[in-house]
Amino acid sequence: MTQQAPDDQAMAERIRQYIETQLPDASDLRLEAMERIAVGWSHETWLFDAHWTEGGVSKTRGLCLRRDPGNALLRHFSDLGVQFQVLRSLEATPLPTPKPYWYESDTSILGKPFLVMEKVAGTCPSPWGSAGRRFYAEAAARGTLPKSFTAALASLHSIDWEAAGLSFLGVPESDNDFALREVQKWCELVEISQQEPHPILIDLIGWLKANAPETKRLTLVHGAYRTGNLLIDNDQISAVLDWELQVIGDPMYDVAYVLTDLNREGSALLSHLVERDAFFREYEQATGIEIDEKVCQYYGMLYQLRSAAFWMSAAGLYASGQSDDIRLARTAWSVPFVLEGAARALGY
């Protein structure tokens, strides 16, 4: 969906001037096909094609610019500087990700910090709309994309994260440190939301702390691996996007997100795309990691806390006047759904 903003033209010119500074040998630089797209509720995103002449040769590069609006939903956890560093670290790995070009924390350039990365070929249909669901149902029937979905996750969990230089993300201690860190992280978001937590949420937090599982192995964890966060080209995952919640942790955390009902709205297919048995078989074969369903159930409940924290934070942004986006106000009524799910899971 393209957004209409009154300052789009001025913004386009400021972006052009910035790109010009990064391409000192370029002449006749122009940006075409610029669109501001609404993807998620975190960062503002512009897509465009840069055309220029260099050494008498015409050049073109598709670019994606993400700017921190300052009031993004996951602003406390999602720093564009970190995202840039993660993308840099992943460049040399087999995982398909956009090539990062520049990161600027200097707010005098575009008003807020931003990063510029490669515009990768492909589309990213939203699984929450009928058109997206139809897209994934048809792709599931063809059979290639589900395999690519599982293979990309297996590739992500097989990355040598230490060699890739991803230790800066923080490495959990042994035992159940990873799970407890995640519980703490989402409790902090609940606190930041300045909304009084529902007693069911307090019960859920108590249960999560008392039952935190041991992490058997550490891998890079995406944190939100699902359709809608993956770019697709010709029935293949062309790029894994949304590097906002990544951590070094238990790969079952990602697997649980694939398995959760939260991402399939009643569809029998995981993430609206993948048949459950095939996912288990192909993931285990590719990674050599056995899926631990009990641990996944635990992380499924942790996602209930995360969802509640996410919606409470969103509603809080609107209530506090930090955002005027009415979609955020709407999320206040999503909280009871999550709590009802948590209540069921806790055996209420």
Binding site: P197, P199, D203, D325, I326, R327, W333, E340, G347
Partner: protein
């Protein structure tokens, strides 16, 4: 406002929501404000539903918490409970609200080893039964 508008507040919100959905939203061309208009209609409808049920739900919640307090007090009387739990129960008896229930739950988890699994489960089960009723009520207007 109620003195001058011949509609109950929830009905007024429903009416404005309908106008947003049927007249204002469709007339807006730009995608972003159009979405905002439709989303505002959804929010007002939900608010209307919540407002309509607010008094009944508040009364039901008070009844639930009153009964919960009595049940837990009986259980506590039959066998001594840890001091922090007794304090949390006293607070709940005094303030029949969600914050007091939350404090009680936190204290239940904090004193779990002292209570032992059987007593912990017996106490938390009673709290959960009342919270189940509460979330069921919330689902009526959230859906």
């Amino acid at each position: 406002m109620a003195d001058y508008v011949q509609l109950a507040p929830d009905e007024l919100l429903e009416r404005i929501a309908r106008t947003l959905k049927k007249e204002i939203g469709p007339a807006v061309e730009a995608a972003y404000p159009k979405t905002q208009a439709f989303m505002a209609a959804v929010v007002l409808q939900k608010l209307a539903g919540q407002l309509r049920l607010a008094d009944d739900h508040a009364a039901a919640s008070q009844r639930d918490l009153q009964e919960l307090t009595e049940e837990l007090s009986q259980l506590a009387a039959s066998n001594a409970i840890p001091a922090p739990l007794a304090e949390a129960l006293r607070t709940l008896r005094h303030d029949l609200d969600a914050a007091s229930v939350s404090r009680l739950i936190e204290t239940l988890y904090a004193t779990r080893s002292e209570l032992g699994e059987e007593r912990f489960n017996s106490l938390i089960r009673r709290v959960r039964t009342r919270l189940r009723a509460r979330v069921d009520r919330e689902m009526v207007y959230a859906a």
